[in-house]
Point group: C2
Chain length 406, copies 2
């Protein structure tokens, strides 16, 4: 199946508009802090959330509102996580009501997300005052404003969209996401919103998003901290006109492939824009005993502070990769491990049969000085394959997080 | 039972001498890189090792040599981990043989440890050439040279010793340890060596060291990376003259308490001297459902990069503590969580019933500017108590690890 990357993100699919404004939750007036995504018809919808026991108020409200598998709009603020606040649920619900009033829809059909500092009461007044302007600004072009408004310490917007054929119809699927810190999703990234005009029932949509999350957002780690607000929601308008997907047939596989492609691409951009990051790290594991082992090993390497710091220093310190494989908790025959560092400057084999091989330090340095590094691990234990996404550990990560709140 | 802190470390107990020299594994001639600990009689001995699947060659040799529960000497080099090398076992064994030749004992009664870079062949010649000088330098005072010779990026020596009464006899127990980076022990720290003149059989000694490791070294984390070389070994000479401990009686409890005290103190010093650290972080958890939950929660907090960076910035960002509790995988009623930051400047309550409480940011800053910070977490789930030890995440951690190898 062919998927074509197209421009746009959350408004690429038919029937969707979006907007993003500065309402005042953030003090910096040049930073947008409130986003709205809207479908002109009720959508089938599905979502996955953080596995953190501490869950944001918006997640609790989303879980209720998605009980019927339907949604028509998503409102999101940045600058405040609305988590660990006594009045959190009430305010998250109020955000949905504000959208319902403006768009003349049911509050139960609105999803809500928040991202920012944990444990500070969310100021609701700025959102109330901006609601009309937010609704008034809805447009196809507004997708990029929404992508901007959900960011926190991210340095750039993440928008991805694809088109593909389904059932003889052209289908579009696109999304936006934000990440940066507290990124070690265990269901989804901090916030990701996908829209599509594909026709697909809520159950199949939930199945797809749950599956895709495992191999995309759940394979990203910036700092090993699983956020309290992780949410990945997908809205499907059905406007593409394909026969509704209601079972795991060939069309479902095509749809699944598109969703995976968009989510993986967003995941890579999250990782590359991790707090303080100068490099995107991709860890590819093959030959693992099982897919679960491959995931566990890839994630263990991508999460290692020592591997991350070595990559920052462009140092081919492969012993740290072996160390992270060893403590991953996965079954590995260490004597069969092979490690290669790759970038667009080429590749260098550094470890074979679990022991070092001679290599050119000069060549290795040249490869590791690039912005996108692949750590390719080949095991001799089976057929399991996985990819994980991360970034280097830098002075700026410490700087950003040493005094984020004040 | 009363335990008195006494001066010295690994030679505080009767019958032990030690030495440390520069042999040339490290290029810097002012850095000692080879240590020897020696008992003038054969000791009962026990050890615990890393759970990392990638194990150093010295660990494999120690496991063989300790099969009979006896040891008389320990040789340790820094500057090279002797891990992931094809000829590693052979060289680790050679180190034991060198000691055996010098001291006229069996190579099987010698333990061996290495710490440093993984995956570079260990140069054995410098060790062969220094063997005679190392043996010749053995003395009571040499304990501090040994403590120095096992260090890598550590900035100071870790020596602790206590004396106590057992069976009417004065018993001494002391040790040395090294840590700094790749510290997330899952059996023991990178390297820890304890000696005692208590009489205790090998089985009881193994039981004690396995238990104590859980509540001391295994509760330390500097960077979440479990090393390939972690080893904690204890030698008991029996020279104190107490009746040999052969069962879990009252004397065993007294001995256990002394071992725990020394190992906890060494653990704190490892954490405080973590790579780049400016502060010691102690996380005390009480009221957990079980001891295992308390340990899991304390460790999750102490491991969080975001908590560590906030402490570096003296920022009372308690939301990150809640977040780390939430993803710990332990059972917690979040609505009952209480968090307090403590130091010698006082304490400040920041979270009660799982939500923020008003507090003086000024007072919090004053408390968090200290060198030793306690994060005190009180849960409402049971009686489980635990302590974990860590350090802040700083620019220097990144600097040290961005280019450690070259």
């Amino acid at each position: 199946m062919e998927y074509s990357l197209i421009s746009g993100g959350v408004t690429a699919a038919e029937g969707f508009t979006a907007s993003g404004v500065h309402c005042g939750i953030r003090k910096n007036k040049s930073k947008k802090d409130l986003a709205l995504i809207y479908s002109d018809t009720l959508c089938n919808a599905a979502a996955v959330y953080t596995t953190n026991l501490v869950k944001s108020a918006p997640i609790r409200v989303c879980q209720k509102h998605l009980a019927n598998g339907k949604a028509q709009a998503v409102i999101v603020n940045s600058g405040n996580a609305n988590t660990c606040n006594a009045d959190g649920d009430q305010k998250a619900l109020r955000m949905c009501e504000l959208v319902a009033e403006q768009m003349n829809i049911q509050a139960e059909d609105v999803l809500v997300g928040s991202t920012g500092v944990i444990g500070q009461p969310l100021p609701i007044e700025p959102i109330e005052e901006a609601a009309a302007a937010l609704a008034g600004a809805l447009s196809r072009e507004g997708g990029t404003d929404a992508a901007e408004a959900i960011l926190t310490t991210d340095t750039y917007k993440k928008e991805v969209a694809v088109s593909f054929q389904l059932d003889g119809k052209t289908v579009k699927l696109g999304g936006i996401a934000k990440g940066s810190g507290m990124i070690h999703p265990n269901m989804a990234t901090m916030l990701g919103f996908i829209t599509t005009d594909a026709a697909i029932c809520s159950d199949m949509l939930q199945k797809a998003v749950s599956g895709v999350a495992q191999d995309s957002f759940n394979m990203v780690s910036v700092d090993g901290d699983t956020s309290t607000n992780d949410t990945l929601a997908v809205l499907a308008s059905g406007k593409a006109g394909n026969r509704e997907i209601t079972e795991e047939d060939e069309n479902y596989q095509v749809f699944y492939g598109a969703l995976l492609l968009v989510c993986r691409e967003l995941s890579k951009r999250l990782a590359a824009d991790g707090e303080g990051a100068t490099k995107l790290l991709i860890c590819k594991v093959q030959g693992a005993k099982t897919v679960e082992d491959a995931r566990g090993i890839a994630k263990s390497i991508i999460c290692s502070s020592l591997v991350k710091a070595a990559m920052f220093g462009s140092d081919a310190n492969w012993g740290r990769v072996l160390c992270a494989i060893g403590y991953s908790g996965c079954q590995v025959d260490i004597d069969k491990v092979q490690v290669e560092f790759q970038s667009q400057k080429g590749s260098v084999l550094v470890c074979e049969n679990g022991a070092g091989v001679e290599f050119s330090e000069e060549k290795a340095k040249e490869i590791l000085l690039e912005k996108e590094i692949t750590i390719a691990v080949t095991l001799g234990d089976g057929e399991g394959v996985a990819e994980a996404y991360g970034c280097d550990l830098t002075y700026d990560y410490v700087k950003i997080n040493g005094d984020y709140r004040t």
